[in-house]
Symmetry: C2
Subunit: 388 residues, 2 copies
């Protein structure tokens, strides 16, 4: 068991109707609010109108930054920071999914950052001066509401990086706000949740009981609740479990006591979305089973972990451990496919032309080598190729 | 699934050697330190000398309050608060188990409390002005390092209450510091951990997956690691898992999404220790199986939960659910007994003479009635009697 530090300052308010406390929590920080949101789904659902009324009735002055991209761009961050500086904004209010919250983290820190904001993403640091961030989560996926990471893209350089910048001060997670999330994003969000868990679960530390139990609990809960949420979008219990899973999955808690890794599968996916702007969870769904088969073949000594995955997560059994290890991966792939997302790069119109560049670029900062089974750039190309 | 709020401001540093950062963390708050400890085991182990040297070398001025009782008394709290006021103490440093940390919480808040400190315990409130509290945990048991509760006794009135007062600012959990904990306290501490989990696990909410999984994970981990720690006191992995379990068990996290209850079994045990000054975990070991059998008999509709406990925690199986429910309780009782603690009140020299008074006193603030299976005072007397 490895050492760890738990320090999550976020106040997370979970459940039906929790946003009733929004103005109370927001008011602690001031009256000038930057409202950040994405492509406008909050306008379609009526949440935008409801919030604007609440904020105006509460005496808040609202500035707006809409249109945050699904893979939020550094240009949008720059725009948001500019609005905050010009209008003496007191608090950033993000309403949306991980992209909106990530973008808002970068805005909150960027407002006081002296220098180019892409530099800030490339050289992240916790504890920099920042505006407080309050968020209302509308998609169960990244868990950005309970971690300090902002994943930001730079389309000019085809780069996408996760930077540890800032924990939200307050996060509101009302599962009823996710009732309107369409099946495709419900599925890709759930795959994102599972991927966060699996990047830490597939590690060499075998004796950190809490991490193992938490990881298997989250995986089994998503496996149980995603199909229900797809069939009955307003099933509160299913949506609530997915939402609770999302927050905890990326919080770091499921890796307490385990050796850290560079999340190689995420590194590969960030290349895919940087080049092709695809949905993160879909990229992960395609990559993960192939990455698993690849490392299992490259280093058969990791088989015990895949056997445990097959037994404890999928309830599979059998004496042939080689077969069992593969059966667990197959079960995962089947589950992803049945949730309705594309499972090959070809279906997304992606060919092999950039694989070498993407692999080289993924292989920095130890993202591929700081792993249980380290990957070379050739390995990364092979995994991409398996995904065609 | 019920609503919840997560807001734990404590920075918890876990692992071998983490106290190397003590002066750095302590220094953030000032140079005048009140060092609080218990019956002197930290002097026997050499920890006291090591700490005093570290603190003096770091330029700290140390005031001392030793001799905190296993069930810490309000008189000791008063004494500590007095020292803090008289010496302009900046930060309280608790070194020990739950008793020492609980006492220190009450001292930290009591320093600024205007009024009698027993009143403060009877009318607890979070957010009162307080000195910052840093702790070094030396026993895996109460989880006081990761919750805001202080359990304080008043021997004049035979009262013992848990008051929500203050989260520690920083908690240091180094499993190697628990290598010297003798078997009796290793066992009773582990029983305390399990009891914290079980008080929330035995509840009516069936669909909060994370809570269920976290609870079963902690219970299974204690069941696996306690026997190892008893046999090999310096087994790092076993001690580390017990220590990680202790912190999370009382953190509230394993009850997120579940209906809260008044922890009736704890309420009954607090009466036992208030009257007889017994070790908390031992009182819980004696009471818990009898309380379980009592509520199962009183309200057979709760059987499904006991069946789940038998299956998921103890790995038992069978078609006769009545037998299975009881078999889970029997397994728990056997596990407690095999860990070496007394399992009857008679062995502790306790008779029935105060049962009625204790039951009446336990039945305040909804501690017996705000429960999955509410208990009357007659029920409480019956449970006590079963424990003879």
């Amino acid at each position: 068991m490895e050492n760890y530090v738990h320090a999550i300052p976020t106040k997370l308010c979970f459940g039906k109707g929790v946003t009733d406390r929004l103005t109370e929590e927001l008011g602690r920080f001031g009256k000038n609010v930057l409202l950040v949101y994405g492509g406008g789904s909050i306008k379609k659902t009526g949440l935008y109108d409801k919030l604007m009324k609440t904020l105006r009735d509460g005496g808040f002055t609202v500035f707006e930054l809409g249109g945050v991209e699904p893979n939020p761009r550094i240009g949008t961050v720059r725009k948001g920071a500019e609005i905050c500086r010009e209008n003496a904004v007191d608090v950033v209010l993000a309403v949306g999914g991980g992209s909106t919250i990530d973008c808002s983290k970068a805005i909150a820190v960027g407002t006081f950052y002296d220098g180019d904001l892409w530099e800030m993403i490339l050289n992240p640091k916790m504890g920099r001066k920042a505006l407080p961030l309050v968020d209302i989560v509308t998609v169960s996926a990244t868990g950005s509401e309970f971690d300090p990471i902002a994943v930001i893209s730079n389309p000019e350089t085809n780069e996408k990086f996760g930077a540890g910048l800032l924990y939200p001060a307050v996060s509101f997670c009302d599962p009823t706000l996710t009732f309107s999330v369409p099946p495709y994003h419900t599925a890709s969000g759930s795959i994102d949740i599972m991927s966060h868990i699996m990047e830490d679960y597939f590690s060499e530390t075998p004796d950190s009981d809490l991490s193992e139990g938490f990881a298997e609990t989250v995986l089994k809960s998503v496996i149980q609740n995603l199909p229900i949420a797809l069939k009955e979008p307003d099933n509160y219990s299913a949506r609530a479990n997915l939402m609770a899973n999302a927050s905890v999955a990326c919080s770091g808690i499921p890796r307490y006591g385990k050796r850290h890794s560079g999340w190689p599968c995420h590194a590969l996916e960030h290349e895919l979305s940087a080049y092709y702007d695809i949905t993160h969870g879909v990229g992960l769904a395609i990559l993960t089973p192939h990455w698993m088969r690849f490392i299992l073949k490259k280093d058969p000594s990791v088989r015990w972990r895949f056997v445990r995955f097959a037994r404890n997560v999928w309830g599979l059994d059998g004496d042939d451990e080689d077969a069992l290890a593969l059966a667990g991966i197959d079960a995962l792939e089947r589950f992803f496919r049945e949730s309705g997302v594309p499972m090959t790069l070809t279906e997304l119109g992606i060919g092999s032309e950039h694989f070498v560049d993407m692999a080289k670029h993924a292989d920095i900062r130890g993202r591929l080598t700081n792993a249980w089974v380290p990957l070379t750039t050739e390995d990364a190309v092979a995994v991409f190729t398996d995904c065609l």
